[in-house]
């Protein structure tokens, strides 16, 4: 069974077609990069998959459930683009932020347990941020903050992690280390779906690339195949 299946997906604004007839599917353990020039609907596609936006036409299934009726929030995690654009003075510790990731498993009206603390420590350890657990999130660098948000996504032990431009606003060294971290997580069996404009850093770790075109169409390729295509240069040089 496909872990994610998108069939004949369309999304249109009254005056513009963003996505036209897009179909693809992912198996468990895939690492998909969604790429394309500005305005081709990369983040829109992710928001449609996550049911933040409603499609004009088509069907999306995550883990066998229709995206519009999806309730297994504990099996997926999302690192939003906003994660790097939050209020830097927000008075919350790394530990408190990662604990939020447990909400989908624990749900409404539950109290913190000892095992939660262990899960938080373990997630922070996986991203190399355990010693920062008591630090305020706003006092960390962009790369460290992104690691914390990945820990928040990991704490639930999800089957799929969706990321929207996780390397925006981070220095080159931190981008490489985030990409390596995502590669390791993928090797441990987590399916990753990531919107990115920084394809050169992540291509080595991914196995599939979905290239969105300005006419709303999309093409899915194996990463090696994509690497050799001229569209690589096209996408890369457009940013």
């Amino acid at each position: 069974m496909s872990i994610l299946q998108v069939s004949e997906l369309c999304f249109k604004y009254p005056d513009k077609t963003i996505l036209e007839n897009i179909s693809f599917s992912l198996e468990k353990g895939d690492f998909l990069c969604i790429v394309g020039t500005n305005g081709t609907g990369k983040s829109t596609l992710l928001k449609l998959i996550l049911n933040i936006l409603k499609p004009t036409k088509g069907e999306i299934k995550i883990l066998g459930e229709s995206a519009s009726k999806f309730t297994s929030f504990d099996k997926i995690s999302y690192v939003s683009q906003k994660a790097t654009g939050f209020n830097a003075d927000f008075p919350a510790t790394v530990e408190e932020i990662v604990a939020l990731g447990l909400y989908s498993k624990k749900g409404f009206l539950s109290f913190p347990k000892k095992s939660d603390k262990l899960k938080i420590e373990s997630a922070l350890e996986r991203v190399g941020m355990k010693s920062y657990s008591k630090r305020l999130i706003g006092k960390l660098s962009g790369g460290q903050q992104q690691r914390v948000f990945i820990a928040k996504a990991l704490v639930n032990e999800p089957e799929i992690i969706f990321l929207d431009e996780p390397t925006v606003g981070i220095d080159v060294k931190a981008v490489d280390s985030i990409c390596c971290l995502l590669g390791e997580l993928n090797k441990s069996g987590i399916t990753i779906v990531m919107v990115t404009h920084d394809i050169s850093s992540i291509l080595y770790h991914s196995n599939k690339v979905l290239h969105l075109s300005e006419d709303g169409s999309a093409k899915i390729l194996a990463s090696e195949e994509f690497n050799s295509q001229t569209i690589f240069n096209h996408v890369h040089h457009n940013h």
Partner: protein, 263 residues
């Protein structure tokens, strides 16, 4: 301490302390969502409710609660119409509140009843009002404790909260109701013109020194109680308006704390 032997002062202190506990609980969310002006918009709308209530013979607190709630939902509606300039929403509702209050206040026979809502009348709290404040404070405290994680999550990352299964619309609706209740009830005692300060200043003080979200919430409540108790004592000793005194004490402590803010 002799002043605490009078029953009216005991009621005043009880009400003031309860209000100083509930206002920063709401204020934390409002400040961290960067919606600080919403308190002003709601308190001025509650004044409009008071004026209409006093004009037509309704209970002014009840009409203040209703007006605050309507104002809160109107802000949400107007915010969607001006997506990129959402601060317009609070300005529009605040102006409507001031305008309505000004027009209807001209028809109120007992103008001192209306002016007591402007700056509060904390030392004239009746036993019934104390009872109402106790019940509403309990509702606010229990709800904020129950929704602690949800409110924290939504305040930090609303989209992420929704994708983790938080019922964002429901929690926001409940929070709006709580805000309207807190503003209306508090405006009777500390004054509509002062209430938003009591929501914001203790949180601002806490943000200067807190080391976590939890400590920010706790510290803001401690600061608010501290300002209120000191302010009430000073206002009793020197016979000055309690609401204004409480706020000025808060501003004074905020200025004192600025050099000690965390780096």
């Amino acid at each position: 301490m002799e002043i605490l032997t009078y029953s009216f002062m005991q009621r005043a202190f009880a009400v003031a302390v309860l209000i100083s506990v509930i206002t920063p609980l709401i204020g934390n969310i409002i400040v961290l969502k960067r919606l600080s002006s919403i308190g002003d918009a709601l308190s001025h709308s509650s004044l409009a409710g008071v004026a209409i209530g006093l004009c037509f013979g309704f209970d002014p607190i009840l009409s203040a609660v209703i007006f605050s709630m309507l104002a809160a939902f109107t802000i949400e509606f107007v915010r969607r119409c001006f997506y990129r300039y959402s601060e317009i929403a609070t300005a529009v509702v605040l102006s409507f509140g001031v305008g309505t209050a000004a027009v209807f206040s001209g028809f109120i026979k007992n103008s001192s009843a209306f002016s007591s809502f402007l700056f509060g009348s904390i030392v004239a709290v009746s036993s019934f009002e104390l009872f109402v404040v106790i019940i509403l404070s309990l509702i606010v405290i229990v709800t904020v404790i129950i929704l602690y994680r949800e409110l924290f999550f939504i305040t930090f990352d609303e989209e992420g909260a929704q994708l983790s299964g938080v019922k964002v619309k429901t929690v926001n609706f409940v929070f709006t109701l709580l805000t309207a209740i807190v503003v209306s009830v508090s405006s009777r005692t500390v004054g509509a013109l002062v209430i938003s300060s009591l929501m914001i200043i203790p949180v601002a003080c806490a943000m200067l020194i807190s080391k976590s979200y939890r400590s920010n919430v706790i510290l803001s409540v401690i600061f608010a109680v501290l300002f209120t108790v000191i302010g009430l004592f000073i206002s009793c000793i020197y016979n000055i308006k309690p609401g204004g005194t409480i706020v000025l004490i808060g501003i004074f402590i905020l200025l004192l704390l600025i050099p000690f803010r965390k780096k």
